[in-house]
C-alpha cells in the first residue's frame, strides 16, 4: 500500500531516455552490495564442496564437486546432527515461550492505559540492554548448584532474557499499527475486550506474530555464549558451539572443509526462511527497531 517504489518509478518515467545512463552508478552500487553480502557466504559454500586435497584452491568453482565434507559432517562421531537437533529444541522452545508471554504483554502495552505503563516499557527495553555475560555468571553458579548444567532449560531460561524483550517490543509495534476501530467495532457488536482480542485482533495479527517468531528464532538460533557456558557435554551442545569445536582426523589440522559444510547446513534453513518471508522480516525489523 505505502509502496515507495511506485512513487520513485513514476518520477523517473518523466525522463525515460536519460534514466539508464543516470542510473548506471546505482546499478554498479547495487552490484557491489550484492557481491559484498554474498561473496563470503559463496566462499563457504564453494569450500564445502571441495575435496580435502583441493581445499586450498582458490578457483571460483569447485572441481570436481565433492560431497565428502558433508559425509564427514553427518558422520555420527562428529555429533553435528545431534547438535542441530539440540539447537532446534532450544531455539524452538525459547521462541514459543517468549511469544506466548509476549503477545499478551504487547497487547496491553499497545492498547490499554494503566499505571506505570511507561515504567514497564522502560524496564523491558532496559532488560534487553543487559550484557548477557553478566547474567550468565550467577546463573552458572546457580545451575551448577541445582544440577542444571547440560540441560535444555539451562539454555532456554537465560535465552529468554533477550528473546522476551525483543518479542514484546516487536509485537507492541505491530499491535500499535492495527487500527483501534477494529476492536471498538467488535466491542460495539457485544464482544468483551478479551473476546475482541482473541477473535478479531489475534487472527489479524498472525502475520506480525509469525514475523516476530522468525526474528526471535533466528536470534536464538545464533546464541553462542549461553550455550557455551551452560553445557560441557558434547551430546548437549548446540550447533554454534559444535561448529566452533569441530575436530578433524588429527587435532593439528583444522577440518576447514567440514566446518564450511556444517556452516552451510546450519545457515541454509535460516536463509530459506529469510528469503520466503523477507518482506515481512524487513518490516518487522524496522518497526521493532531492536536488533
Amino acid at each position: 500500500m505505502t509502496d515507495p517504489t511506485t512513487a520513485t518509478a513514476a518520477s523517473t518515467n518523466r525522463e525515460p531516455g536519460r534514466s539508464i545512463r543516470r542510473n548506471l552508478p546505482v546499478y554498479i552500487g547495487i552490484g557491489l552490495i550484492v557481491v559484498y553480502c554474498l561473496a563470503p557466504f559463496y566462499w563457504m559454500a564453494v569450500s564445502s564442496l571441495r575435496r580435502t586435497n583441493d581445499i586450498f584452491e582458490v578457483s571460483l568453482f569447485p572441481s570436481p564437486v565433492s560431497f565428502e565434507n558433508y559425509a564427514a559432517v553427518f558422520d555420527p562421531s562428529q555429533g553435528f546432527l545431534r547438535a542441530l537437533g539440540n539447537s532446534v529444541v532450544v531455539a524452538g522452545t525459547t521462541t514459543v515461550v517468549a511469544l506466548v508471554i509476549a503477545i499478551v504483554a504487547a497487547y496491553a502495552l499497545a492498547r490499554l492505559d494503566f499505571r506505570f505503563k511507561r515504567l514497564v516499557m522502560t524496564g523491558i527495553i532496559a532488560t534487553s540492554m543487559f550484557p548477557v555475560v553478566a547474567l550468565v555468571v550467577p546463573l552458572l553458579k546457580l545451575f551448577t548448584a541445582i544440577g542444571w548444567i547440560n540441560t535444555y532449560q539451562a539454555m532456554v531460561m537465560p535465552s529468554l532474557s533477550f528473546a522476551l524483550p525483543l518479542a514484546v517490543w516487536n509485537l507492541t509495534a505491530f499491535f500499535r499499527q492495527m487500527p483501534a476501530e477494529l476492536e471498538q467495532a467488535a466491542m460495539v457488536d457485544g464482544c468483551t475486550q478479551g473476546q475482541a482480542f482473541r477473535r478479531v485482533i489475534l487472527p489479524l495479527a498472525a502475520p506480525g506474530v509469525f514475523t516476530t517468531a522468525i526474528i526471535v528464532f533466528v536470534i536464538t538460533w545464533n546464541e553462542f555464549l549461553i550455550a557455551l557456558t551452560m553445557v560441557n557435554e558434547k551430546s548437549m551442545q548446540t550447533a554454534p558451539v559444535a561448529i566452533s569445536k569441530f575436530v578433524g582426523a588429527s587435532q593439528f589440522v583444522t577440518p576447514f572443509g567440514s566446518q564450511m559444510a556444517a556452516g552451510v547446513l546450519m545457515t541454509v534453513p535460516l536463509i530459506i526462511l529469510v528469503l520466503i518471508f523477507q518482506r515481512r522480516i524487513v518490516a518487522g525489523l524496522s518497526s521493532g527497531g531492536v536488533k
Binding site: A7, T8, A9, V26, I30, I33, C37, L38, F41, M44, S47, I101, A102, V104, A105, A108, L109, L112, D113, F114, R115, K117, I124, I125, T127, P131, V133, A134, L135, V136, V137, P138, K141, L142, L160, S161, L164, P165, A173, T192, F224, L225, L228, T229, V241, S244, F246, T254, F256, A262, G263, M266, T267, L270, V274, L275, Q278, L285, G289, K291
Partner: protein, 333 residues
C-alpha cells in the same frame, strides 16, 4: 425483568461480566505480569546476584583451615580490577572493547547508510538486494566466525587475493583486530542499511524536490535534508549496534581464541574468569563494570543525541509524514 436476566448462553456471560468489570488498568497489569515475572527471574535476579557475588572472593584457606565458604571481601574485586593486580588485563579488555565498538559501529554506519542510499535509488532488483542483504544478518555469528577464520587462514583466500607477503591474521597483533573488525562489519553493516532504508522510505519526495528547486546540491540535500530526517531511525539502529558491540563475545572468541591480549573483550574476560578460573567474584565484578559501561553509553546516547528508544516520539513524527505522503499522492493525477 426476567428477560434481561436470561442470557442465551449463561456460561459465556459470566467471564464476560468479569472481564468487563475489570478496569483497563487492572487488565493491563494482569497481562504484563507474566513478562515482568520472567524478566525478574532471568534478568533482575541474576543481576542482583552478580552484585552480591562481586563482593565475595574465592574459597580457600581461612585462618589456616580449608574452607568451602567464599569470604566476604567488600570492594576488593573492584579495586583489584581497576588499580590492583588485575588492572592491566581489565583495562586492556576495556580498551579492546571500546576500540572494537567505535571502529565497527562507525564503519557499519557509513557503509550501511551508503547501502541504504543506493538501495533507495534502485528501481529494479530491489527484492534481490534485500534478499542478499539479509543473508549476513541470518548467518549465525559462530558460522561466520568459522568462515572468516578460513578466509583469514595463512593459506586462505584473503592472503591469496592481497598482494605482498602473507599476513598471519589470526596471530596476536593489529592484524587480529583488523580481522575481527572486518568480519563484524560484514555481518552488521547490511542491518544498519536495512533500517536506514526503512527510514528513507517514509521521506516524501516533495521534500527533495523543494530542496532541489531551492538550488541545494546533492551533498547539501543529503546533509541537510536526508540525514536529519532519517536521524530517528538511524540513531536507534546505531544505539542497538553499539550495545551489541560492547557485549561482543562470539566473534573474537571463535575467530582468534580466548585469552588473547589483542582481542580480549570485557565479555570474554568475564567468561574466562568464571569458567576457566572459577573465580565467580572477580567475574561478577567485571560483569558489573561492563554493565555500568553499557549504562553510561545508553545514558549518554539518549541524553546527548536524544535517541528515542521507546519509539513513541518517532511514531508521533512518522504519522503525519505518512499521512502527508498519502495526501500528496492522492492529489496527483
Amino acid at each position: 425483568m426476567t428477560a434481561t436476566h436470561a442470557p442465551p448462553e449463561p456460561g459465556r456471560t459470566r467471564p464476560r461480566a468479569r472481564v468487563t468489570g475489570m478496569s483497563p488498568g487492572r487488565l493491563g497489569a494482569l497481562l504484563v505480569s507474566p513478562t515482568i515475572l520472567v524478566l525478574g527471574l532471568v534478568v533482575a535476579y541474576p543481576m542482583l546476584a552478580a552484585l552480591r557475588q562481586s563482593m565475595y572472593g574465592e574459597p580457600g584457606l581461612v585462618n589456616g583451615f580449608v574452607s568451602d565458604e567464599e569470604p566476604y571481601i567488600g570492594l576488593e574485586n573492584y579495586t583489584s580490577a581497576l588499580f590492583g593486580p588485575s588492572a592491566e588485563r581489565f583495562w586492556n579488555a576495556f580498551y579492546n572493547t571500546s576500540f572494537f565498538t567505535v571502529t565497527t559501529v562507525l564503519l557499519e554506519t557509513v557503509i550501511g547508510v551508503a547501502m541504504a542510499l543506493i538501495m533507495h535509488r534502485a528501481m529494479r532488483g530491489r527484492a534481490m538486494v534485500r534478499a542478499s542483504i539479509l543473508i549476513p544478518w541470518a548467518i549465525p555469528t559462530a558460522a561466520s566466525a568459522v568462515l572468516w577464520g578460513w578466509i583469514f587462514y595463512p593459506d586462505g583466500v584473503a592472503n591469496a587475493i592481497l598482494p605482498g607477503a602473507p599476513i598471519l591474521w589470526t596471530t596476536e597483533g593489529f592484524q587480529a583486530q583488523a580481522a575481527v573488525i572486518i568480519a563484524e562489519v560484514w555481518k552488521t553493516a547490511p542491518f544498519i542499511g536495512l533500517l536506514t532504508l526503512a527510514g528513507l522510505q517514509v521521506i516524501p519526495d516533495e521534500v527533495y524536490e523543494a530542496a532541489k528547486m531551492d538550488g541545494a546540491t546533492a551533498w547539501r540535500r543529503f546533509w541537510h535534508v536526508t540525514l536529519p530526517l532519517v536521524k530517528p531511525a538511524l540513531l536507534v539502529a546505531v544505539l542497538f549496534r553499539l550495545l551489541d558491540a560492547i557485549r561482543m563475545f562470539d566473534l573474537p572468541y571463535i575467530l582468534i581464541g580466548p585469552r588473547k591480549d589483542s582481542v580480549e573483550t570485557l565479555s570474554m574476560l568475564v567468561h574466562d574468569e568464571a569458567t576457566a578460573n572459577l573465580d565467580y567474584g572477580a567475574a561478577a565484578a567485571y560483569a558489573v563494570l561492563l554493565f555500568l559501561y553499557v549504562f553510561a553509553v545508553v545514558f549518554a546516547f539518549v541524553g546527548i543525541l536524544g535517541a528515542d528508544i521507546l519509539g513513541d516520539r518517532a511514531a508521533l513524527r512518522r504519522m503525519p509524514v505518512r499521512r502527508r505522503r498519502l495526501l500528496a499522492r492522492g492529489g496527483k493525477p
